[in-house]
């Protein structure tokens, strides 16, 4: 059975997760590259459910990397389906050990991050991307090909897993701004 049905990723085998505390910079876990894990490991499956639960209760949050909840594993959750800037969307999902396969067509956009509450910054990101990863529990391999806002969000989360924040990628010395509104 394919894990992508009608363009949506089918998640299965996840229990209801717990809401975890989101850490903020300069916590060193955010600057540490995450390590690959076994997608079928029960602890990884539990983390996947916890990331989704935490993401759902965080206003405006469309993605969450494991190191944002203090865990140094290559896992993130994502759901941009309700976002007005999204074009292609794959629903709500968790990817394990994700890697970029291809990326093209850079565009600048202003990003904020739950782990950097005081600032926003202009960052160039590819608007088309292919990301390979594995689903928790089933361990199925998927390749997500997407664009626009989902592509930006994927790159933001992948950066987290590499130990980078958007602050590491801002477009210049005058491209960081005080964050004005707290969602």
């Amino acid at each position: 059975m394919s894990a992508i049905v009608d363009g949506r990723i089918v998640m299965s085998g996840l229990a209801v997760g717990a809401v975890l505390h989101v850490v903020t910079a300069p916590d060193p876990v955010l600057s540490t590259p995450c390590v690959d894990v076994d997608p079928r490991d029960p602890a990884v499956v539990r983390l996947a459910a916890d990331l989704l639960a935490t993401q759902r209760v965080s206003p405006g949050c469309v993605g969450l990397a494991a190191n944002q909840v203090g865990i140094n594993w290559r896992v993130f959750s994502l759901d941009v389906s309700a976002h007005p800037k999204a074009r292609t969307t794959h629903g709500e999902y968790v990817l394990i050990n994700p890697r970029v396969e291809a990326a093209s067509r850079n565009e600048k956009g202003r990003e904020g991050c739950l782990s950097v509450p005081d600032f926003t910054g202009d960052v160039k990101r590819a608007t088309r991307i292919a990301v390979r990863g594995w689903l928790p529990a089933s361990g199925e391999e998927v390749v997500i090909e997407t664009d626009a806002f989902e592509a930006r969000a994927l790159q933001h989360e992948l950066d987290h897993l590499d130990g980078a924040l958007f602050l590491d990628r801002v477009a210049g010395a005058h491209a960081v701004f005080a964050r004005k509104t707290y969602l």
């Binding site: 469309v62 701004f177 004005k180």
Partner: protein, 171 residues
């Protein structure tokens, strides 16, 4: 502790920032927000420093910079509590042939709509004058009317003006 506002302006060379911050560190000052750029090649820096040092002491410690021709000022900054901003962020870009009055005309239109400029850069090139501004507009501002007025002002000045929303996305 109180906040002092420093400005340092003048002929650029490597090491100005290192020297000023070295003095601040010796005085136990804590550097807060600052912004520096080159304005037509001139070093131009504005910074806020939280310190127990008196303005005159800081000035005398920076007298070496004055001696080499830099314009240095140190002024106490009155207490200011940042009010909760709830506006929407926009980026305004204006460019065209240089002439008197572009900045005043355009920013007057913004102000009349309650727009607050939160970041501003103007550059004069060989043939082109450029203004880019971050603008905070009240949530109830009539953006369509503002855009129309900016366009007609730009037309009068013979310049291009574009206002685009830059709301950040939390990822």
């Amino acid at each position: 502790m109180s906040v002092l506002a420093l400005t340092v302006l003048g002929h650029d060379r490597p090491g100005i920032i290192a020297e000023v911050t070295g003095v601040l560190a010796e005085l136990g000052g804590n550097l807060e927000d600052s912004s520096m750029t080159l304005l037509r090649g001139h070093f131009a820096w504005t910074l806020l420093v939280d310190t127990e040092a008196r303005p005159e002491d800081l000035e005398s410690r920076l007298s070496g910079l004055r001696a080499e021709g830099l314009v240095v000022s140190v002024l106490p900054l009155p207490e200011h509590r940042r009010e909760g901003e709830t506006g929407n962020a926009f980026l305004l870009s204006v460019y065209g042939a240089d002439r008197a009055g572009i900045v005043s005309a355009v920013t007057r239109v913004l102000a009349d709509h309650g727009g607050n400029v939160t970041d501003l850069t103007t550059r004069l090139g060989a043939d082109l004058y450029l203004l880019t501004a971050e603008v905070e507009l009240p949530t109830d501002a009539d953006v369509t009317a503002l855009e129309a007025q900016l366009k007609s002002t730009a037309l009068t000045l013979g310049v291009e003006a574009h206002l685009v929303p830059v709301e950040p996305d939390v990822l």
